[in-house]
Every structure is written in structure tokens, then in C-alpha cells.
């Protein structure tokens, strides 16, 4: 039987202890300095921002509740009208959700191709990986509202420019998330399929999709929620839907706060509804994965 000594240290324990302590002290010093710099920057940055602010943070702080209080009190006075107003704005809500749904679908398909073409080990043309990555960077770097404003100028107001704008941003954002999932996919099934002479699309369809589909669907559902909010915001710049109605209702001094309250209620209800729906569906997907 081989004899194995339990203490085979060539270096003395004291030496290891002191060198490790020195390392720990150095690390603590750096950590402390970083924390100090962070706090100094935060405090000074806040003060600079507050000085340049037209109103002043501390002076305005107590007024934060004024606008919601106005909206709520007026809505409460006219609470009998609320159901009627909710029914009135419901078609606009449907338009907003439609914009979000179509652009999520188009964006997810675009993101899928961008991700597969931009992932090391899976790409059809490995040399073009940087190109597809930069395309997806650009698509998500430009804010939806900028694309929408340009398109509204060209195409005129309405849901189509909003849909295109959100689709572009969604394709870029999902392309990034998808490619991170695809990077972690197991390459062995793909290699196995390649050894049988399968084409690139067959390898992706049979070797990669089954692994990544649950994560893809989960990210797409998350993106759908985000896009409902985005499409509501685009209504403010004339893309139609509930955002447009909200902008008209919530301007100061027009006395239509009951309309605004009804729209807020609708938006809130929608987002809660889709949040619940998608989280339930996502949970089922991730549970299904483990079985």
C-alpha cells in the first residue's frame, strides 16, 4: 500500500500565512478605496445634478404627490363615468396590444437569425460574425422613439411606423439575449448531426432548437411585456393606440383627468394581466425542462 503523508508542504505554514494575509490586506485596501471613490462620486454627482436642476430636488420633493392627487381626486368625483370611459378606450388598448404582439413576433424571428448567425460555433459564415453582431448592436442602440419619429415623418402617423420601430429594437435586443443562450448550448448534438452530412439549417433545427427553445420563448414573452409599454409610449408621438389618447387626456388644465385615470387603469390592468400570464407560462416552460 502506498504511503501518503498528509503534510507534504515544502513551504512553511508561517510563510504561507503571512503571504496570504498580505494578499488579503491588499485586497481589503483596494476594496475600501473603491467603495470610498464610489461614495464620493455619488454624493458629488448628486449635488452637481441638483445645482443644475431648474427647480431643485429638495424644493420640489414635497410637490411630487400633487399631480397624482389631482388626477385621483377628479377621477374619484366622476367615478360613476369610469366604466363607460374604460369601454370607450378599450379599442385603443387593443390597438396598442396588437402593435406589441406583431412587433414582438417579427422581432423574435429577426433576433433568432441574428443570434444564430452571430454566435461562435453555430454561425453559417464564421467570418461574418462581427458583422451580424454589429447589426444587432445598432438595432438596439437606436431608441424606438427615434425610429418611430423618423418613420412617422416619412409614412405619416399610425400603427405601422410604431410596429416597424419596435420590431427593429426587439430584433436587436432579442438577438443579443438569444445569442447568449445559444452560446451555452451543447455543441455535441450539432457535431453529431454534422457527422451525418446535415446542412446548416438542419443542424440548427434539430440540434440547437430543442435545447434553446424554452429560453427563447421565455425571453420573447418578457419582451412582449416590455413592448406593450413601448407601444403605449409611442402613442405619445402620434403612433396611435392608447398612448395617443393618454397624451390628450393627461395634459394640464384640460379637465379630462377622469379619462386619464381610466386609461391608467386599463394600462395597469393589461400589464398585470400579461405579467401574470407570461410568468405562469415561463414557469411551466422551465419546469418542463427539468423533467
Amino acid at each position: 500500500m502506498a504511503v501518503i503523508s498528509l503534510s507534504g508542504a515544502s513551504q512553511s505554514v508561517n510563510g504561507i500565512q503571512s503571504s496570504y494575509m498580505a494578499q488579503v490586506q491588499r485586497r481589503r485596501l483596494y476594496g475600501g478605496l473603491t467603495l470610498l471613490i464610489f461614495i464620493v462620486l455619488m454624493v458629488s454627482g448628486f449635488n452637481i445634478a441638483d445645482n443644475r436642476n431648474a427647480g431643485g430636488f429638495w424644493d420640489g420633493l414635497h410637490q411630487i404627490g400633487d399631480y397624482p392627487a389631482d388626477v385621483l381626486s377628479e377621477a374619484w368625483e366622476k367615478r360613476a363615468d369610469l366604466p363607460g370611459l374604460i369601454a370607450k378606450y378599450f379599442p385603443a388598448l387593443i390597438e396598442t396590444i396588437n402593435i406589441a404582439a406583431v412587433s414582438t413576433l417579427i422581432g423574435a424571428i429577426g433576433g433568432l437569425f441574428l443570434s444564430l448567425l452571430g454566435t461562435r460555433g453555430l454561425a453559417k459564415w464564421p467570418r461574418l460574425i462581427p458583422l451580424f453582431r454589429r447589426i444587432s448592436d445598432v438595432m438596439r442602440a437606436v431608441p424606438e422613439i427615434v425610429i418611430a419619429l423618423v418613420l412617422i415623418f416619412v409614412l405619416g402617423g399610425g400603427p405601422v411606423p410604431a410596429m416597424i420601430a419596435i420590431s427593429i429594437h426587439t430584433a436587436g435586443a432579442l438577438g443579443k439575449m438569444f445569442s447568449e443562450v445559444a452560446e451555452n448550448a451543447d455543441a455535441k448534438p450539432v457535431e453529431g448531426l454534422a457527422s451525418t452530412g446535415a446542412t446548416w439549417s438542419q443542424r440548427m433545427l434539430l440540434g440547437v432548437f430543442p435545447q434553446i427553445a424554452p429560453n427563447y420563448v421565455s425571453y420573447t414573452l418578457l419582451r412582449f411585456e416590455i413592448n406593450i409599454r413601448a407601444s403605449a409610449i409611442l402613442g405619445f408621438v402620434g403612433a396611435g393606440g392608447i398612448g395617443y389618447e393618454l397624451r390628450n387626456a393627461m395634459g394640464w388644465g384640460q379637465g379630462r383627468f377622469d379619462d386619464a385615470a381610466a386609461i391608467f387603469l386599463l394600462l395597469f390592468g393589461t400589464i398585470v394581466f400579461f405579467d401574470q400570464l407570461s410568468s405562469r407560462y415561463r414557469n411551466r416552460l422551465t419546469d418542463g425542462q427539468s423533467h
Partner: protein, 271 residues
Amino acid sequence: MLQVDTLTKRFGDKTAVDAASIFVDKPTMIGIIGRSGAGKSTLLRMLNRLSDATTGSITFEGQEITALRGAAKRNWQSRCAMIFQQFNLVPRMDVVSNVLHGTLNKRSTFSTLFNLYPQADIHKAIEILDRLGIAEQAPKRAEALSGGQQQRVAIARALMQNPKIILADEPIASLDPMNAQVVMQSLRAIHEEDGRMVIANLHTLDTARRYCDRVIGMRDGRIVFDGTPAQLTTGVARDIYGAGADFSEAATSTEIGTLDRPEARKTEIHA
């Protein structure tokens, strides 16, 4: 000292551990053997309170363990260290930090966040590493170490807890025979020198026979054998593993020596 009384764990309609009763009166090195799925891991996880028992009780030095909650439960876990098959270290942290995790039960989240361990603890951690022969690895990341070294780091973490009991769940199942020997000898040395109770799940008979004072055999969640290694005959072993007449102990062995002398082993069993 340790008393386990009709401990049962059910997952849905499947019973993983079925009314297990064990009594230990003094620090002993105990090996639990059995097939995969016999309930060995579930039993150890219930002892550490990583999972809750369905019914039954565990009593240690007069204290009821199964009823502990919150801080009292975490305190018990710090007194009852656990070693895992896959080491379960934090791979991106250095070896000493991993060993210092053994003191987490005594530290606040704040001091953990800023890595503020007392110098005495750091020195003690390195001394423990030296005792296990891996002091030179102290500043390296845990993931940079070999499997055998990682398992010794895990043992060092357990020792840092200064526990009364060390539970080892298949500590050598992922190791090659040489490293397996080093790890088992370390566990044996800890038992003999420090007088700590060691309970190890083992899936090889000869390891249990060689290192343990007492062997418990489990089959389908039940304890079917409890005795000294000498009482563990081939017939009993066949019963524990549910194997036929073609079963020989060498078949489950990971010892290098066994390969050279399968016949010698067999006669030793029959004697």
C-alpha cells in the same frame, strides 16, 4: 449521543427513507452502503437538515434536531458538517476563502460582504489546509485544483466548522483510486485524532470494510444491516445490493490492490 428514531422521508407516493432507526453512543466512523437510490443521500441530508423529514425524529446529545427552525437550525448545520460527492465549493473563490466559509454561521452578512474574516481564522484555515497537505494551494482558485485536492478543501471547510459530526455523501465517488485513498485516510485521521463522529455514504464495500468501525446497509429506504465490518459476509452484501450468486466484492471495488488479488479478497470474505 446521536439517536435517529423511525426517520421517514416521502417524495409524493415514493418512500425514500423508510423508518430508519440508528443509535450511536460514542464517536464512531460509520459507513452507509447500498445501491443508488437506496436512500443513503436522503438520510444524510435529513441529518444535516438540508431536507426535512416527513416523520420521525433525530436527537443529538439530548437536543431534538428535527424541530429546529431558523437560527437554531443553521447553528445545528454548523455543528454537523457535510461533504459532497461533487465537492460543492465556490469555484471562483480562492481556497482559503472556501475554507473560511466554514465560519459563516458565526459571521454577519455585512462582514461576509466585505470579506472581513479575523486574522486568527485565516491562520487557522491555513493550518487546517496544511494538516490535509494542500497548504501550498491556499491562494489559488478552487476551480484550478484537481478533484482530490478540491475534496480536501471541502474537508478543510468542514473542519473549520469545528463540528461534532462530519457527514460525507459519496466523498470518493468522483475520485480516482489514489485520491480516494487520500481522502478516506484524511477522514479516518480526523475521526481518530479529533474524536469526531464521521458518517460516510460509500458505494464500495471494501472502502466501508477498511475504514469504518460500523457498517449500515440500506436497501429500498430500509436499514437491512447494522453491524461491524466482520459481520458483513458476502451473503449479507448480496442481500444489501440485491445481487445474485455471481456477485463478488471485487466487482464494486475501486482499490488498485483488488485488481491484483481478486481471489485473495474472496477467501478473506469467506474466512
